[in-house]
């Protein structure tokens, strides 16, 4: 059973009388431990696709099975629980809580997951160490560089030991050198911990780190290629 099974998923946004087909009839399976990148021009439906996989949005039609569960039938709080335990998010704009230390940002998923204080900080510290930020746990986001902030976000995605990390243009706000460092971190996490990683990027250099490339155009999945 594949980790992610998407069959004939469409997403239609209605703005007044105009209908936008953000996704039309997308079907794809992604297995455990894969490292896939999603490419395509702006407005091709990449983010919509990621939001559906991330249980942040629901398809207009089609089905999405996550670890064999049909996500379409779940309520708000059940989806929140799935996001908490099975999915880690990394965003282009980092999306860390301001005025909150790196440690507390990383602890956040554990708090919503009901983990006790002591175990929480131990696990958060371990996650920070894993992304190379040991010793920075007291820093607030505004005291960290873009690359460091993105590492905190990755630690936050890791801390609950979620099997999937979704990253929508994670290097979009970073310089080339830092982008490479972040991609090396993803590669390491995929190789060492077997975490399934799906990331959106415009840049072939970034996509080159992944093992599989999904190409979108006008809401359709146009190509599904293995990377050499």
């Amino acid at each position: 059973m594949p980790l992610i099974e998407i069959s004939n998923v469409s997403k239609v946004y209605k703005i007044g009388d105009i209908e936008v087909n953000a996704l039309s009839g997308v079907s794809i399976d992604i297995g455990r431990g894969e490292f896939a990148s999603v490419m395509g021009p702006s407005g091709s439906g990449k983010s919509t696709f990621m939001n559906i996989i991330g249980c942040l949005d629901k398809p207009t039609s089609g089905t999405y099975m996550l670890e064999g569960t049909d996500v379409g039938g779940l309520g708000r709080d059940e989806l929140a629980a799935i996001r908490n335990s099975k999915l880690g998010f990394v965003f282009q704009g980092f999306n860390l809580l301001p005025r909150t230390s790196a440690l507390e940002n990383v602890e956040l998923p554990l708090i919503y997951g009901g983990v006790q204080a002591k175990e929480r900080s131990e696990r958060a510290m371990a996650a920070l160490k894993k992304v190379g930020l040991g010793g920075r746990e007291r820093h607030h986001p505004n005291q960290l560089s873009g690359g460091q902030q993105q590492r905190v976000a990755i630690a936050r995605a890791l801390v609950n030991e979620a099997p999937i990390i979704l990253a929508d243009e994670p290097t979009g706000n970073l310089d080339t050198k830092t982008s490479v460092e972040i991609m090396e971190l993803f590669t390491r996490l995929n190789a060492e911990s077997g975490i399934t990683i799906i990331l959106v990027t415009h840049e072939p250099d970034i996509a080159a780190f992944s093992k599989r490339v999904l190409r979108f155009l006008d809401g359709q999945l146009k190509a599904d290629e293995a990377n050499a």
Partner: protein, 409 residues
């Protein structure tokens, strides 16, 4: 599973970010709770004082003063002409079925000497009924007997203040004191009564038989003259009957024609105190209205600020939702924030209210008493306001769509 202590810390942090805004938001609650505390302190203080006065005055009491309030169109003021007599008092007791007891009083101030101690105090000449009329207690010794009065014996009963000043800790009963150089035997001591309505020390007095006061101490312009007559009605319901009986009896006895004004005045103390109590109640209600309006305004202020806060933090809410915050995680975060705002306001309000009542009692001389109940009430009210007015913003926050919230700029 919701982590309350952590949510509380989170709320404090959010409130600290906008210190000024948080403080201003609390103002309504501070004023509201301050008013509640002050109102209850004044109300409790006043009713305690009234209760104490009723106790010390005796219940169902009427006071007859000589002189009329108006005389030939001219206000004379009660107590100006001596018109009341012992016989009037006897007639009232005899003829009015509504009257339980009467106590004629003739008083004056005098110097009292015991050994080398002396003390200036009020000498009250009265009858054994006095004790009954005013619901007083004899602490030691005995009260007057009718024989004491009939024979104008030189016996006296001392108030606690007089005992303290003349005898210290020694037992006065059986000793002899000199009042205006006349020797009197102390036959009893009164239980302490404290201050009266007017703030006088009611224990600073000596009681002697009224006849003794008339004949041996003060003298009278005509025989049997008394200064006032105290009347105890049989019950509160009989007060009005007693009052009209007294008026009828005295008008007849004083030969007052139908067109003439009374040459005496009857005062109903219970009525006066009920009036005082009534005005206290009205003031309490007024302050209560101010307090509830203020709490309402404060609550709306909290709701307003919380709505602003939810909008400002839409993105934060989106992040939390993406990471796994459930409906009640988000709701509780904002409800606890509103609760902390209102509770901090409440605590500041309690401090303001307690301070305010102290100032009121110092400046206006009102008796105030801050009761623990009013503090509980204030805390309860501010908590209720926080939860009630915090719920809608929290509810709104919890219904946000996670992706829309995440995209919010």
């Amino acid at each position: 599973m919701i982590n309350i202590p952590w949510t509380g810390r989170l709320a404090f942090r959010a409130l600290r970010v906008n210190k000024m805004r948080s403080a201003l938001t609390m103002l309504g609650i501070i004023i509201g709770v301050g008013a509640v505390i002050t109102m209850l302190a004044v109300g409790t203080g006043a009713s305690r004082q009234i209760a104490a006065q009723v106790q010390s005055m005796g219940s169902n009491l009427l006071i007859i003063l000589p002189g009329s309030t108006t005389s030939g169109g001219l206000r004379m003021g009660a107590g100006t002409q001596p018109t009341l007599t012992m016989a009037d008092a006897d007639a009232i007791l005899r003829e009015s079925p509504a009257v339980a007891d009467v106590a004629p009083v003739l008083s004056g101030s005098a110097q009292v000497v015991y050994g080398n101690q002396n003390w200036s105090t009020v000498i009250t000449g009265t009858t054994p009924s006095m004790i009954n009329v005013r619901d007083w207690q004899i602490a030691s010794g005995r009260s007057f007997t009718p024989d004491d009065v009939k024979n104008a014996l030189k016996v006296c009963i001392l108030g606690q203040t007089v005992i303290d000043n003349l005898f210290g800790d020694a037992d006065p009963v059986g000793k002899t004191v000199n009042i205006m150089n006349v020797p009197f035997t102390v036959i009893g001591a009164l239980a302490p009564k404290g201050q009266s309505t007017m703030g006088q020390d009611q224990d600073d007095t000596i009681y002697v038989p009224v006849t003794t006061a008339q004949k041996k101490l003060f003298g009278t312009p005509f025989p049997g003259m008394v200064r006032i007559i105290l009347v105890k009605a049989k019950s509160a319901d009989e007060l009005n009957n007693a009052q009209s009986d007294i008026t009828g009896i005295l008008r007849q006895r004083h030969h007052i024609g139908p067109k003439q004004d009374d040459d005496f005045t009857v005062r109903n103390l219970t009525q006066m105190m009920q009036m005082a109590e009534q005005s206290t109640k009205i003031m309490t209600l007024l302050l209560g209205a101010i307090a509830s309006v203020s709490l309402l305004v404060g609550g709306i202020g909290i709701m307003n600020i919380m709505l602003v806060s939810v909008t400002e933090r839409t993105r934060e809410i989106g992040i939390r939702m993406a990471i796994g915050a459930k409906t009640w995680d988000i709701r509780l975060q904002f409800i606890i924030e509103a609760l902390i705002l209102s509770m901090l306001g409440g605590i500041a309000g309690i401090i303001l209210g307690v301070g305010g009542s102290k100032v009121l009692s110092a400046i206006a001389g009102w008796p105030v008493a801050v009761s623990p109940l009013s503090i509980f009430l204030a805390v309860g009210f501010s908590a209720a306001v926080g939860i009630f007015f915090g719920f809608y913003p929290a509810y709104k926050a919890s219904l946000l769509n996670p992706i829309d919230a995440l995209r919010y700029e």
